[in-house]
Each structure stands twice: as structure tokens, then as C-alpha cells.
């Protein structure tokens, strides 16, 4: 009887407490859910701002001109010598075409403003067209040429027309000409191929990210070829061969600490060692890759050690048990099983390196470089540095290009991370 009463009392107490317990659980769940929603909100906010700012950069305004390839201005008909063809005055052709379209513009100053509607890069287009096909000389053609970035901004609606004329990059007379061109269907937005095929430029409409992509590619190539083998070898030695003593403990602590060292410190190290001591040139992907390799090494070593640790000891025992040497055990069994984890860590490290800016500023990869690099020894920029440079530029058209470059960088980062996830899923084994 007594026992039953005791039990009843216990149950009452439990019942009383139940509500509070479940309430706590609910609150905890809401907190977690709230945190995730907040995170998603921030991420979507980031993406929305970047995309809404940047998507217009993938289009570029073109103007249709009636160009007469005047033999007097280029070269006599039949001329094919590239020396002669390349030196001709193609800018004059464009100016002539503009004058012909707007005969009422006679004032010297007004003419200059009129010519400003067309990008300075347009003359290079004409030159390339003529040089690849000298038979054009003497003929007339309709040519679509790149408009100036101010015109581009106007067409894309980034210029506020309510502002007084003096505060606007596009003056009233230019507005009139542009309306005329629009009425004649001579203005069109097209896909901006320049953005993906050109290097940096002072003129926004002529600038592209190919140079930065190539620079990033070469830098990562150097980084990967150095950091992956060294990192994996270090991890294998530490995990499989090294005796467990005070020295290896010290090394382990140091590696973990290195992973947390601010990246600019690696930049300083690279500047002191690779450039000042070894005399390697500045601004080249070789040095950038070396610096980033130093920076990613701890990440790769830590990930590789974790991957090696996660290989079940039973596999090692099985191999050792039938007489495989330690080396055979590692190369035949442990490494293949640990490789997906190692690759995942490496790709994450590479993605980190791809987005790194600070150490590259220290070794001079922040220079303005127009040419697309062809090797690891050519001066070049990298994607994040290019973004940094463009973000600093005053022209309105660089704002959208900055966002577009960020989109390209994010696309690379996301695809690298997806690759890592895919690799992990594909090679995941069960035992």
C-alpha cells in the first residue's frame, strides 16, 4: 500500500514537471529554427543584392554604325601588309561615320562630345575586322560597336535624369543624340562577351575577368601541386609512422595553430622569403601559389589526418595480419579509403585559397594588369583582387562589374564545394 502511494506521488511530480520539460524542448527547437531562418535570410539578402547589382553587367550596349572602310584612311585597296593595316587611323573611320549620321554637329567641342558616345575600344574592333579580312577596304558595312560606359549606364537606367545637367555624366545634347539613335534602332543591348574574354581595363566597357580567372587558375595550380602532395605526405607520416612523443605533439599543436594564423601573415612571409630572399618576381602567380600553399597546408594536413584516422583499424589489422608491410598496408588499403576525405579537405582548402586576397596584396598581385597571363611567371591579378580593384574604381559601370565578378567567384566556389560533396558521396564506403 505504502509503495503504491509512493508511486502515485512520484507520478504526480513527474506530471507536474512534464509541461516544463516539453516547453523547454519547444523553445530550444524554435531557437534553432530561428537561427537557421536568420542565416538563410542573410544569405538570400547577400545573393539578392549581388545578383540585382550585377546581372546587368552581363549585357553591354552596342551602337550600330555605317562604316565606310575608306581606302584613303586605311590603305590602298589590295594592301595586305599587317604592318600597314595595323597602323591605320581606325578611330577616324568611326568619327567620319558619326559625323555623317549627325551632320548638324559642327562645333569642335560638340563633336568631341559626340565621339564620346562610342567606346575607344571600337577602333580596335574595326582594326581587327580589317586585319582579318583586308578585302573590306573600300566597302561599306553596318557595324555594331561597343558604346561608351556612360551610354551603357543610361540605357540600363543607372543614370538619374532628374538631376541637373551639370551633375550628370550624360549631358542634354548627348541625350538627344541617343534618342535619335534609339529611334533608328541603332542601340541594342547584347550579351557582354568582352567581360569573359578581356583582361582588366581603365574603360569599364572594355574590362573583363579573363585575366583574373587565368591568374587565379595558375595560382591555384601552383598551390595544389605543392600543398596536396606535401600535405598528404605530412599527414601520412604523422598519423602512421611518427612515434607519439613530445616532439610530434609539439608539431601537431603548431600545425593546428598555423591553421588559425591570419592570412596576411603568410603574405608577409612570402614577401620576405620568396621575393626578397629568393628574388622571385612580384605579382606573379608562382609566388601567389607558393604563399597560398603555405596557407592551405595546415587545412590539408588536418583534413587528411582526420581522414586517415577514420579508416577503421580492422582494415589495417586485416592487411598486417596476412603479412602486408606497413607501407603496403598504407598504400593498398589505408590511402585509398582515406583519399575521398583528403580530396574533400583539399578542395575546401583550395576554395579558401581562391577567395583569399590579403596575402596576395602583400606580394604585389594587386597591380593593374591588362594582359591575360599565359604562364605562372606572367604578372597577373586574381579574382578576389580584381573585385577589390574594381570596387575601388569611381566609374558607375564598375559597380555592376564588381558584383558580376563576385558572382563568377561565387560560382567557382560553389562548384568546388559541390565537387567536394560529390566526391565524398561517390567514394564513401561502408564496412
Amino acid at each position: 500500500m505504502n509503495n503504491q502511494q509512493q508511486h502515485q506521488k512520484t507520478m504526480e511530480r513527474v506530471q507536474q514537471g512534464l509541461d516544463r520539460r516539453y516547453r523547454k524542448e519547444r523553445h530550444f527547437r524554435w531557437l534553432g529554427l530561428g537561427a537557421i531562418i536568420l542565416g538563410l535570410l542573410f544569405v538570400s539578402f547577400l545573393f539578392i543584392t549581388i545578383i540585382s547589382n550585377g546581372y546587368t553587367a552581363f549585357q553591354q550596349t552596342y551602337v550600330k554604325l555605317d562604316v565606310f572602310y575608306d581606302p584613303e584612311m586605311i590603305a590602298p585597296i589590295g594592301e595586305t601588309d599587317p604592318e600597314v593595316l595595323s597602323r591605320a587611323n581606325y578611330g577616324g573611320l568611326i568619327k567620319a561615320s558619326m559625323r555623317q549620321m549627325f551632320p548638324e554637329v559642327t562645333n569642335r567641342r560638340e563633336k568631341k562630345v559626340l565621339y564620346g558616345l562610342i567606346s575607344t575600344g571600337a577602333s580596335y574592333e574595326l582594326r581587327n575586322a580589317v586585319m582579318s579580312n583586308p578585302a573590306l577596304i573600300g566597302s561599306k558595312a553596318e557595324v555594331w560597336v561597343v558604346a561608351d560606359d556612360d551610354v551603357d549606364m543610361l540605357i540600363k537606367g543607372h543614370i538619374d535624369l532628374r538631376l541637373p545637367e551639370s551633375d550628370r555624366r550624360i549631358k542634354d545634347n548627348q541625350l538627344g543624340w541617343i534618342h535619335l539613335l534609339q529611334e533608328q534602332d541603332r542601340i541594342e543591348k547584347r550579351f557582354n562577351t568582352t567581360f569573359f574574354t578581356a583582361g582588366d581595363s581603365r574603360e569599364p566597357e572594355l574590362s573583363g575577368i579573363k585575366g583574373a580567372i587565368a591568374g587565379s587558375f595558375f595560382t591555384l595550380l601552383i598551390c595544389l601541386t605543392i600543398a596536396f602532395p606535401v600535405g598528404v605526405a605530412a599527414a601520412v607520416y604523422l598519423e602512421e609512422f611518427a612515434p607519439k612523443n613530445r616532439w610530434t605533439d609539439l608539431i601537431e599543436v603548431n600545425i593546428n595553430n598555423l591553421a588559425a594564423v591570419p592570412s596576411i601573415v603568410f603574405g608577409l612571409l612570402g614577401l620576405a622569403v620568396f621575393i626578397n630572399f629568393f628574388g622571385l618576381p612580384r605579382s606573379v602567380p608562382l609566388v601567389g601559389g607558393l604563399v597560398l600553399a603555405l596557407m592551405t597546408l595546415p587545412t590539408i594536413i588536418i583534413a587528411s589526418r582526420a581522414a586517415l584516422k577514420s579508416v577503421p583499424p580492422s582494415i589495417r589489422e586485416a592487411a598486417l595480419g596476412i603479412g602486408a608491410s606497413p607501407m603496403q598496408t598504407i598504400t593498398h588499403h589505408v590511402l585509398p579509403l582515406a583519399l575521398p576525405g583528403m580530396l574533400t579537405g583539399t578542395i575546401i582548402g583550395m576554395a579558401q585559397a581562391l577567395g583569399e586576397t590579403a596575402p596576395l596584396l602583400m606580394i604585389g598581385m594587386v597591380a593593374f594588369i591588362v594582359d591575360v597571363p599565359g604562364s605562372v611567371m606572367d604578372p597577373s591579378a586574381v579574382l578576389p583582387v580584381q573585385i577589390y580593384l574594381w570596387a575601388d574604381s569611381p566609374e558607375r559601370a564598375f559597380v555592376e562589374r564588381t558584383s558580376a565578378a563576385i558572382m563568377v567567384l561565387l560560382a567557382f566556389l560553389i562548384s568546388m564545394n559541390l565537387l567536394a560533396v560529390w566526391l565524398r558521396k561517390k567514394f564513401e564506403r561502408r564496412w
Binding site: 612515434p243 607519439k244 577503421p312 580492422s314 582494415i315 589495417r316 589489422e317 586485416a318 592487411a319 598486417l320 595480419g321 596476412i322 603479412g323 602486408a324 608491410s325 603496403q328 593498398h332 588499403h333 579509403l337 564506403r429 561502408r430 564496412w431
Partner: protein, 286 residues
């Protein structure tokens, strides 16, 4: 250090009271020696760092015999088994003293390489641990690394013969290219046995090979052990006394790192000489 010494004195007084016959080796009751030994162990001590796990064990493993090692958990039977092919070498802090000889050759001699030793003393583990490779590659791995096969045909025949001896051939002959990890637990364990015998060892060590298996798979493995005795010497650690009684000719009883009693299996299970052995096999503890 302190509790091991108290355990020792406690054991000695118990042992003194229970002893019915003369000891053939210090601390051990029964016939430690056999006429035709494959492996001989003399005064083996094993330490894990400061802690001693095995105390002065002497034991012979007879040719073409199955010797089973029984005892409560933590009594050191697995540790002792792993001394026989130097698997304990993989544990940094483990130290083995004493003498273990195989066919007259000291296996802990500095000049002896562990690779050929492990090729001649194979091992099957508690948990089936096939490589995450095909069934064929699982078996072929040993012969390949030791260079035992001349060509593909020879290797094929080794694989077939090993699987046949392990009683697995009929079940897997049509799917040799499928992963060994896809087999059932009992099949995996027989695959591991086939992998061990593929390099034609002289001794096979089995560390609780059936503890992760159901009774039917266990029965198959036990049957297999009995057949393998013809060609191999087998040392098996088991928690099941029925299993020890069924498969082995000799049985060794371990207690707290000491070898208490060794003898013919029938004799150990019907008329144990030592009080501790009797208590264990009658189920009073362990």
C-alpha cells in the same frame, strides 16, 4: 601496481588450496608441453606501458591441433594470441618478454622479419574485416603481395582452392567480382578465413571468430575449423565454452593474465584440476 600484487597473492592462496596435482610449469596446472609442438612459448610476459597484462605464461601449440583459449573478459587470452604473430607490435606501448618459438625459430628474435612470420601465422579477427574490394581481390591480396602466384591462372586456382577450403566457393563462385563487404556476416568471416589460408600459413590464429555471428553461421565456422585442422594448426580464443568443447583438442584457461590450467579438452570440461577452472566452466563466474 598495487592491485595486481594483491590479486597475485589472492590467486596463490586459492590456487594452493585447489591444486590437486603437481604443476608442470610455474603457476600452471596440467600438461603445458606436447610431444610435437608447432609453437612453444616460455615465460611470456606482456606489458602495456607500466601495466602487466600477461604473467609468465608457458604453453605449447601442437601440430595439426586446435587449441582453444578460454577465460573471463580481460584475462589476457586475446593479448596472448596476438603475441603469436606479433600483432601486438602495432601497439606502441606494448612490450613482450620471454621466448616464443615457431618450429625452433624465436619469433621475437631481432633478426626475424614480421612479414614472413605473419605469412606463416595467419589471423582471423573478432569482427569480420574483409577489404572493401571484390571477393576475388580479398583472397588474391595475400598471394599477390607475397608473390606466390606465377600467372593469372595460378592465382585463379589459389582463389578457388582457398574459397573451397573455407566452404564458400559454392555460394560466391558466380559473383567473385562483387564487393566482399556485401556478403552476410558469416560469409564475410569465412571469406576472412579463406583470405588467411590463401597464403598457406602453418598456423591460423582466431580471435573470437564467431562472436559476431548467429548460431547457424557459427556452426558452419566450427565445422570448417574441424576440417582445417588436417592442414593447419589452429589457436582459437573463444567466449563460448561449448564452442571450445566442440572444436578443440586442447584447452587453456586464462585468469587475470595467468595461464591457470591446460589440458585435453575433455579433461578440462569433465574434471578440471584447478578450483578457478572449475568455477569458470560450471558458470560460477565469468
Amino acid at each position: 601496481m598495487n592491485d595486481t600484487s594483491t590479486a597475485k597473492t589472492g590467486l596463490q592462496s586459492e590456487a594452493g588450496a585447489a591444486m590437486k596435482q603437481n604443476r608442470t610449469a610455474e603457476g600452471t596446472v596440467g600438461e603445458v608441453y606436447v610431444d610435437d609442438p608447432r609453437m612453444t612459448c616460455r615465460n611470456v610476459d606482456v606489458y602495456y606501458g607500466e601495466k602487466q597484462a600477461i604473467f609468465d605464461v608457458s604453453l605449447d601449440v601442437g601440430k595439426n591441433q586446435v587449441i582453444s583459449m578460454i577465460g573471463p573478459s580481460g584475462c589476457g587470452k586475446s593479448t596472448f594470441l596476438r603475441c603469436l604473430n606479433r600483432m601486438n607490435d602495432t601497439i606502441d606501448i606494448c612490450r613482450v618478454t620471454g621466448q616464443i618459438k615457431m618450429d625452433g625459430q624465436d619469433i621475437y628474435d631481432g633478426g626475424l622479419d614480421v612479414v614472413p612470420l605473419r605469412a606463416s601465422v595467419g589471423m582471423v579477427f573478432q569482427k569480420p574485416n574483409p577489404f572493401p574490394k571484390s571477393i576475388y581481390d580479398n583472397i588474391a591480396y595475400g598471394p599477390r603481395i607475397h608473390g606466390l602466384c606465377d600467372d593469372k591462372q595460378h592465382l585463379d586456382s589459389i582463389v578457388e582452392k582457398s574459397l573451397q577450403r573455407a566452404g564458400l566457393w559454392e555460394e560466391v563462385k558466380d559473383r567473385l567480382d562483387q564487393p566482399g563487404t556485401g556478403l552476410s556476416g558469416g560469409q564475410q568471416q569465412r571469406l576472412c578465413i579463406a583470405r588467411a589460408i590463401a597464403v598457406s600459413p602453418e598456423v591460423i590464429l582466431m580471435d573470437e571468430p564467431c562472436s559476431a555471428l548467429d548460431p547457424i553461421a557459427t556452426a558452419k565456422i566450427e565445422e570448417l575449423i574441424d576440417e582445417l585442422r588436417e592442414n593447419f594448426t589452429i589457436a582459437i580464443v573463444t567466449h563460448s565454452m561449448q564452442q571450445a568443447a566442440r572444436v578443440s583438442q586442447r584447452t587453456a584457461y586464462f585468469h587475470l593474465g595467468k595461464l591457470i590450467e591446460v589440458g585435453e579438452t575433455d579433461q578440462i570440461f569433465t574434471s578440471p584440476r584447478h578450483k578457478l577452472t572449475e568455477d569458470y566452466i560450471t558458470g560460477r563466474f565469468g
